[in-house]
Structure formats: structure tokens, C-alpha cells
Amino acid sequence: MKQAVILLNPRLLSFRNKGFAKDRSIRLIIFAAIGISFWAGIFAICYRVLMYFQSVEGLGNMLAYKLLSMILLIFFSLLIFSSILTSLSNLYMSKDLTLIHSLPVPSEKIFLAKWIESTIDSSWMVVVYTIPVFISYGIVFETGPFFYMAIVLTLFPLCIIASALSSIMVLVIVIILPASRIRSVFVFLGLALLVIIYITFRLLRPERLVNPENFASLLGYLNNLSTPSYPLLPSTWAFDSLKAALTGDVSCSLFNVALSMSCAAFLIFSGILIAKAIYFKGFSKSQASMTWLFQHKKERLDKLFSFLSGPTKSFVVKEIKTFLRDQAQWSQIFLIGALIVIYIYNFSVLPIEHSPIKTVYLQNLLSFLNVALAAFVLISVTARFAFPSISIEGSAFWIVRSAPIPIRTFLRIKFFIYLFPLLILSEILIIVTNLLLNVTPFMMYLSIITLFFLTPGVVSLGIGLGAAYPDFNSENPAHTVTGFGGLVFMIISAAYIGAVIVLEAGPVYTIFMSGIRNENLSYFQLLWIIGSFFTAFLISMLAIILPIRFGEKRLVAHSFAGL
């Protein structure tokens, strides 16, 4: 254990050194402010929902419990997923591993140190943002202090179970895969993610909660709410423990805590034993890089882009090849796949036909909501791919810097490379969901045009801010988006999309209403509508042009360590 602690020291020290750097303090404050407002928002929403549930005669507690079990299930799946990713990178991909493995420390100790690191890495954020949910339960149910203790007692083993399970999974996957395919791990992970999401959704069946058909027979609804939970799932133990704590049943709560703790302990020891047997073997295997031979094919990509100028073509070809050969990159497409499946799934189960309020207002609202949702999918995909695309140049960035092309051209090339696929993606998304929603032709065209302008704006923000806040030394460039620059990107893009939608929604509502009332638009209204659309257009143009300029300026001034 002592050796494991020593191995954790460098991490702690660099964290401390980073935290105390001067220019970080402003960022820290911004981060903290945003974090706290999110936290407060979650708390407020949860509190309101629970108060509403309490007001539902007879059903209140049941609804609250159902929600709690859902939250815990989601919590657990999120933990599993994020710890698979972090333990994979901490155990096999970290740059310090070659150094650590040369130290006179047994491999299971290294495993333990790295496992502790990834447990903290993967769970702190999930924990921090679910705490307000649990606290609001405590307040609404007016529990004693034991409940708050129970929160800690249940979440702690749950995090450990998730992270231990994931690291055991990773240990085994790496051993099973043949060495030449070791980098395919990410493909497996992508698939694992899809499966996890599918299972979570099947277990949850969230549509049942909102589907009014079930309200038709109260009996059926109640039946549905009290579907037996899955007794072997760790999240069920956590649920049982918290539920007991809510009702003041201390011994039942502690029993479930003990159950979780013993499971956690068992998993830790199994993990260490398994690591002792196979961790080093897997690590040596993972060090081998692909030695495929790329036969000198008829350079198809080169031909395809031969209409471009030399420098432009060279970057386009390089970008595409690098992307396709880097499985850590393209396997994230599964992530997008999952996102889109959830997105469309939500629409296909949305009980619109049964909605009692079937008004123009609602229709209008829904289609704008749809544009907003599609735009948020766009933001997250951009954050995943376009934003890190500058940092991903990494140590090879000197090639760009010494190349006879301006940084601006380089950024523009990046912009167009990511714009085309993202534009296709967002247009497909909006068309399919609009068809599912049965929107009016007018709204269909409007959404298509809106996204046609939103997409380049968001991509430009991603590339520009990615260039303004690059991290060329990052071990995993995809994670740069969790840094300060990524945060700025998310906030500005969200504000941008929000502004455009607000600017469009008002006029559209006016047009609809006047259509219904068979009135002509007044001169003033017409002016307002045109002005509003024009402003939206103007903002989009600014969003396309300014970020790249900003990124260029910052990137040129960026001095990167080492050549």
C-alpha cells in the first residue's frame, strides 16, 4: 500500500503546482462559479419535481422512489462507462507507464495506484453533480442526519464497485485481444457503450413514466411503477439502502450498505489478484504498435482531392488518414451513434398524439425545441471531434508552424474538413426528427436553413477556440474539451444557438398566429420580423468569421515547449 501511495505522489504534486500557478486563479473562479450554478440548478429542479410528486395524492412516494431508482441506475451506468475509459488510459496508455514499470515495484501495486487514480478521476464529477439530487430528497422527505450519512455510505461503495468492475473488464479485454489488434480496444469500448446505453434504457423504460396511456388505468400504472427491481444490481442495493434511510429504517439501510461494501471489497481483491496475474502481460502487449503494411495503393484519396491546391490537399489527406487509422478517434463514432439513437428514440416514443394541448403554439414550441436539441447534439459532436483537432496535432505541430502556409489557412482547412460531415449529420437529424414530429412545411424549411447557418458557426467556434486554448501535451486530446477552452466553447455555442432560436421563435409565432386569425401582418411587425431574421443571420456570420480569427491570433502567439 505504501508503494502505491508513493506512486500517486507525482500526480498530487503536479496537481498542486498547476493549481497554484497565478494565471489559473481567474479560470478557477469562473469554473467554480459555473460549477456552483449548475449545482444549484440541479438542486432547484430536483427539489421542485419532488415537491410536485409529494402533492400527487397517494402516488407521491412511489413516484419519488421510482425516480430515485432510475437516478441510481443511470449513476451506476455512467460510472461504469467513464471508469472503463479512464482505467484504460490510466492503466495502459499513460505516458508515465514506461517509467513506472521500470521501477522496482510489483505490477499489482502499480495497478492499485493507477486504479485509485482512475476511480477518483472517473467518479468525482458524477458524484459532485448527483449530490444535490440526494440532498433534495433528504429535505423533501424531512429526514434526520442518518440519511445524509447513508448517501456517503452508499455512493462510496457504488463508485468502487463500478470502477473495480470496469478495470477488471479492461484487464481481461486487453489480454483477450491479439497484440496486433490491441488498439481496437476502443472499438470494443464503443460497442460496450452502445450496449450499456441500450440496457439502461431497457431497464428504465422512461417512456412509461410519461405515457398517458398508462394513466388510463391506474392499476396498470401502479403495476408498472412497482415492477420488481433487479436484486443483483449494485445500484439496487444503493436504492434499497437510501429508501430505507428515507423511511428511517436504519438497520435495513445498513444491511444494504454492508452488502455493497462487501461486494466492493471482494471486487478490489479480485482485481488485485487478476492484475498480479495478467496486468504486466497485457501492458507489454499494449506497447506494440500496429505494424501493418500499407500497400502502395493507387493513392485514391490523393486523386479524389486533386482539385485542391497542394498544401490544402496535403492537410485534407493527412487529416482523413490519421482519423481513420486512429481507432481512439473513429471509434467515437459509436458515441455519436448512441447519441443519435437516444435522440431519435425519444422522439419515436414521445406521446405527441395523446397530448391534450394540440395547439399551434405547442407545435411551434416543439419544432424549435427540436432545432435546439439537434444543435446541442451538434455541439457535443463538435466538442468531441472539431475542438480537439488542433490539440491532436500535438508534438507534431512544428510541422505546421514551419510549413509555408499561414496558420489561418491551416485553421480554415480544419474548419472545412469538419464542416462537411457535421453539416450532413445535423441536416439528416433535423429532417428525420421533423418528419417524426409532423411539423409544417414552413417549419421544416426554416429548421433546415437555420441549421445550415448554425453548423458552420458552431464548427468555427470549435476550431477557433480549440486553437485559442490548445493543449499539445495532452495524453488524450479528446479530453481537452473538459478544460477551460472547452468550457468557453460550450458556453458561447449554447448562447449563440439560444440567441438565434429566440430571434427566430418570436417572429415565427407572430406569422403563425396571423395565419390562423387571417390577419395581415402590420408594417411594424413585418419590419420586426425582417430585422429579427437579419440579426440572426448577422450573428451567424460573426460566429463563422470571428472565432477563427481569434484562434489564429492566440495560436500564433502560443509558445510551445520543445520542438
Binding site: 500499407f294 496535403s314 490519421t322 512544428w398 514551419s402 510549413a403 509555408p404
Partner: protein, 244 residues
């Protein structure tokens, strides 16, 4: 070919390069030596346009790097000290990338890659991912890429790191023959024997300041040492500077 005027770079309070004035003429092989952290890499990064100087300017063949960076960069072949490359491309694809970037014609590309890859013994591995190359192989590939567009100026940061004896000999001969054909080479190195053997002129940098320039003989004169090799000159001059 290279004109450095009052070139300075400050990193916070560290003066990595401090008011450096230097000119290197065409067809000259200039050696740049100095202790670790003396400012060699920083100078080279500014010459190659990777870093913007805090003060002063870099003129390449009469072109100001700050005003027309693309035009200036086109004249340079850069070989950095650590060969970071696009690991997911093959050696051949990387060369093609460089050729397109510097707009080398197809004929010249085919001719030069063949020649360079054979010379650097990479021809058999050209279609493997760079990821699987050894350090020395990557270094050889960077050199091939830098020479591919036949630049009139080659800037090299510690060329011999990671090369085997045969590679060192190869590069030494190559540099000599390039200089004979009129190419200018600016090279930083820790291998003083190499500097003594191949360089026409040598500059010594210490704490960001250029403390001496000249041929080996001139430097011996400056250091007031009669029969000594460059190593002793180097120790003498850098010691003096430190004791000041």
C-alpha cells in the same frame, strides 16, 4: 542567407535569447554550440518561424520572417531535435504530404524520394506506419522530408542524436556535399568534434548571448589558447562568461 538582428526571446523573466546579432552567408556551414539551456533550440525555432521573437528580426535571404513568413519558410528545411511526426501516416505518405505542402512537382518528388529513401536506408520500410519506426529511423525520415523540396537553407537542431555511426558519417558527408553545391546549413550541436570537422564557422552561445563567432582558429585566438581543440576553447569561453 540568414541575418539575425537584435534577436531576443524572453520566457517570463528568463532571457532565453538575448539581443543576438549574427549573419550567415550563402554556402556556409555554421555550427552553433552552447551548454544545455543556452538558447540554441530557441534561436533555431525563431529562425524557422516557429516562435515569434520578443524583439528583433530574422531575415532569410532578404525576406523578413515576420512580414512574409510563408515566403521565408519555403526556403527552409527544418530538422528539429526530436522527430515528432504524424504517427498514423506511413513514411511514404509523410513525404508525399511534405511534397504537397511545399508544392514540389510530381517528377521531382518521385526522383527525390527514391534517392533520399535509398540513401537513408528507409526504402524497405517506407510503407509502414511511422508509429512503428525507431527513434533513429524517424530522425532519418525527418531529414528526408527536410531535403525533399531542395531548400537553399537547412536548419538543424542536433542532427546526430539517435543516429548510428553509419548514419552520422552519412549525414556528415551529405552536409559537406550540400554546402559544396551552395546550400547554407545552420546546425546546433553538442558534438564538438563534428563541429570542428565540418563547420566553416562556429558560434558559441551562453545564457542567450552570442559570446564568440569565427573559425576554429579565430576562436582559439579569442580564448587565448595556443594548441588546443575546440573542446578546450569551449570550456574556456563558457567558463569565462560564467565567472563574469
Amino acid at each position: 542567407m540568414i541575418n539575425l538582428i537584435n534577436l531576443s526571446k524572453y520566457f517570463g523573466h528568463i532571457k532565453a535569447v538575448d539581443r543576438l546579432n549574427l549573419s550567415v552567408s550563402s554556402g556556409e556551414l555554421f555550427g552553433f554550440i552552447g551548454q544545455n539551456g543556452a538558447g540554441k533550440t530557441t534561436t533555431i525555432q525563431m529562425i524557422a518561424g516557429l516562435l515569434a521573437p520578443t524583439e528583433g528580426s530574422v531575415i532569410i535571404d532578404g525576406i523578413d520572417m515576420a512580414k512574409e513568413p510563408e515566403k521565408a519558410k519555403k526556403k527552409i528545411g527544418l530538422i528539429p531535435d526530436r522527430p515528432f511526426l504524424y504517427e498514423k501516416l506511413t513514411g511514404m505518405e509523410f513525404l508525399k504530404f511534405t511534397a504537397d505542402l511545399y508544392e514540389v512537382s510530381k517528377e521531382v518528388f518521385l526522383e527525390n524520394t527514391e534517392k533520399l529513401l535509398t540513401m537513408f536506408s528507409l526504402i524497405d520500410r517506407a510503407h509502414e506506419l511511422i508509429e512503428s519506426y525507431s527513434h533513429g529511423m524517424k530522425q532519418r525520415l525527418v531529414m528526408s522530408a527536410a531535403l525533399l523540396h531542395e531548400p537553399p537553407l537547412i536548419v538543424v537542431d542536433e542532427p546526430m542524436v539517435g543516429l548510428d555511426p553509419r548514419g552520422i558519417k552519412l549525414v556528415t558527408n551529405l552536409f559537406r556535399s550540400l554546402v559544396a553545391k551552395g546550400t547554407t546549413i545552420f546546425m546546433s550541436t553538442h558534438t564538438l568534434r563534428l563541429a570542428e570537422d565540418v563547420c566553416d564557422r562556429i558560434g558559441i552561445i551562453n545564457n542567450g548571448k552570442l559570446i564568440a563567432t569565427g573559425t576554429v582558429n579565430e576562436l582559439k585566438h579569442t580564448a587565448q589558447i595556443g594548441e588546443a581543440d575546440l573542446e578546450e576553447v569551449f570550456f574556456q569561453l563558457t567558463k569565462e562568461e560564467i565567472s563574469l
